[in-house]
């Protein structure tokens, strides 16, 4: 792997809330075009990292380097415009607006937002709504659709922002096994079509193992393991902290 392949570098990033070290000196790199899984038990600091990288929280120390520039002091709208965006663990729809309008806002703003106009954005919006399969619901208000459809809408909205790197914060939470499978296929397809890099924050192990190229495991705000899904699953530190022996065995046996 050459230097040019790295799109995002996180260097000893920390965030303290008073005495609580939510993220404590975490460093890792994200390679262009990969799906990186970010996992860990509750309170491990996964969402905090997403919040730090996308500018929702300000860091305590460390740096976040995106394509050779330190973005850790930028505001969240500036980071979004650079092409680094995220979905939220708890859905954040634009209330009182229709599904189509929600996606349209993503398309109008987002990356390179100076070059977007209503006409092109409307066209893009319709394409993306079709891609995620929300065509029949595009005129509904977000208050009138199910939580799964809101999640799909949020996914469409971040895709409409045309990001270079996307943090997906627990997009699978609350989905049935079949829906998880469908969403995984959708994510892989969009990754190929849109030339994206994805950081996948997840609780559902099956989804992470199946989709990720590489996995980073967090525990109590620290990175405890990094590697391919198999390597991580076999790591004794991870098994101790999180997965449990039985699940790890299953993964190894089933390939």
């Amino acid at each position: 792997m050459g230097e040019n392949n790295i799109i995002l570098t996180i260097k000893s990033l920390s965030k303290y809330f008073g005495a609580l070290k939510a993220v404590d000196g975490v460093s890792f790199e994200v390679k262009k075009g990969e799906i990186l899984g970010l996992i860990g038990p509750n309170g491990a600091g996964k969402t905090t990292i997403a919040n730090l990288v996308t500018g929702t929280f300000s860091k305590t120390s460390g740096s976040v380097i995106f394509e050779d520039t330190d973005i850790s002091n930028l505001k969240s709208y500036q980071i979004a415009r650079k092409g680094l965006t995220r979905t939220f663990q708890i859905v954040e729809p634009l209330k009182g607006m229709s599904v189509e309008e929600n996606v349209l806002v993503g398309s109008l703003y987002g990356r390179d937002n100076r070059n977007t106009n209503m006409k092109n954005s409307s066209k893009r919006t319709r394409e993306i709504i079709k891609l995620v399969g929300l065509e029949s619901k595009k005129d509904f208000l977000v208050s009138d659709i199910t939580i799964n459809d809101i999640k799909k809408m949020e996914f469409a909205r971040v895709i409409a922002m045309d990001p270079k790197i996307l943090f997906l914060d627990e997009v699978m939470a609350g989905l049935t096994a079949k829906e998880v499978e469908k969403t995984s296929i959708l994510i892989k397809r969009i990754l190929k079509e849109k030339d994206l890099t994805i950081v996948f924050i997840e609780h559902i192990m099956k989804a992470v193992m199946g989709v990720s190229d590489r996995i980073i495991v967090l525990h109590h705000g620290k990175k405890i393991s990094e590697g391919t899904p198999q390597e991580v699953a076999n790591s004794s530190a991870v098994i101790e902290a999180y997965l449990g022996k039985r699940y790890a065995k299953e993964v190894v046996n089933n390939g």
């Binding site: 500018g55 929702t56 979004a80 729809p93 634009l94 806002v105 703003y109 106009n117 005129d139």
Partner: protein
């Protein structure tokens, strides 16, 4: 559904054009008193549009927005007393108001909800205090006079009727264009979910200040016209929080976050108060209050909002029937 929403838009445009044609020919059939009533209706509609972009579309209630009315009125008065023609003081009033909206907006628009509303009341009070105490420039608490147009009253009332009407039409069209543009989507996203808007690449503070500047533009020109029309203004009158309350009521009754709501609201509130005034002189305010509570209770989205919902729901029902 798409078709029905477009129909809805067509209904709105049709309604707007019909109203405007009626208003243009109305003065030829009305007495001087009613011309003044209608001029006031147009003026309140403009101030309510200024409130509408801030609250109806962006979700920030600028309770002290009347400050721009007072600024517009006073800049017009001061300029004209120094010998400037009205058409020169008009842009001066607008630019001063826009400048102040940016100056106050950058710090104050970082506060949300009730705190923002209260902060704007504070600014309004502070500006009124300045006006009251700089007697050499503003005439102080006694108020100040403006030059009177040298024409019979019937003619000047006609001028102001058409000037206010034109202002209302321009403000409404401008608001319509803004709301349907990229800027408008940014502004509406702030009301919908400010955190999400931020994370989607929307520079929220820029959008908030821009919206307030547009609001200040509308309201200050209305203030300048009002000052010239009345030819006498006093600080407690043009910085009055009673005006602020009336404008909020107009916006809510007509429908906050709708293009035509403030116009219809202004019409209804003024007509209602005319009727109530003439038939229940002693209980005027009480009856008016009860009527407003009734409207807000049964149509919380305002008249235009409720009408829109009705048309949309009918559309959904029809569509369901077709799909079955």
């Amino acid at each position: 559904m798409k078709l029905l929403i477009e129909n809805n838009k067509k209904i709105n445009i049709l309604l707007f054009i019909t109203l405007m044609i009626v208003f243009i020919f109305l003065p030829f059939f009305l007495s001087g008193y009613w011309i003044r009533v209608f001029t006031t209706i147009f003026m309140y509609a403009v101030i309510a549009q200024g409130m509408n972009i801030m609250y109806g579309y962006m979700g920030y209630l600028p309770f002290g927005n009347v400050m721009f009315f007072g600024i517009g009125a006073y800049i017009a008065a001061i300029g004209m007393n120094r010998g400037l023609p009205f058409l020169a003081v008009l842009p001066l009033a607008a630019l001063t108001a826009i400048f102040l909206s940016i100056l106050f907006g950058i710090p104050v628009l970082k506060i949300r909800g009730h705190y923002f509303a209260i902060a704007t009341i504070g600014i309004n009070g502070a500006i009124m205090g300045v006006v009251q105490n700089t007697t050499e420039i503003t005439g102080g608490a006694m108020g100040t006079t403006l030059p009177i147009i040298d024409k019979p009253p019937a003619v000047t009332y006609g001028y102001f009727y058409f000037a206010m009407l034109a202002l209302m039409i321009i403000a409404t069209l401008l608001l319509y264009l803004v709301i349907n543009s990229k800027l408008g989507y940014g502004i509406r996203s702030i009301k919908a979910n400010e955190e999400a808007a931020n994370s989607m690449g929307i520079n929220t503070i820029y959008h908030k200040v821009t919206a307030w500047a547009i609001s200040a533009l509308f309201v200050s020109i209305a203030g300048a016209l009002y000052a010239y029309w009345m030819s006498f203004i006093g600080p407690t009158e043009v910085f009055s929080t009673v005006v602020a309350v009336k404008v909020i009521v107009i916006m809510l009754i007509g429908g906050a976050g709708t293009i035509l709501g403030p116009i219809i609201g202004s019409f209804i509130v003024s007509m209602l108060s005319e009727v109530v005034w003439s038939s229940f002189l002693e209980y005027h305010l009480g009856v008016l209050g009860i009527a407003m509570i009734a409207i807000l209770f049964f149509a919380p989205k305002g008249i235009v909002g409720t009408m829109d919902d009705f048309i949309k729901n009918r559309g959904l029902r029809l569509r369901k029937k077709v799909s079955v």
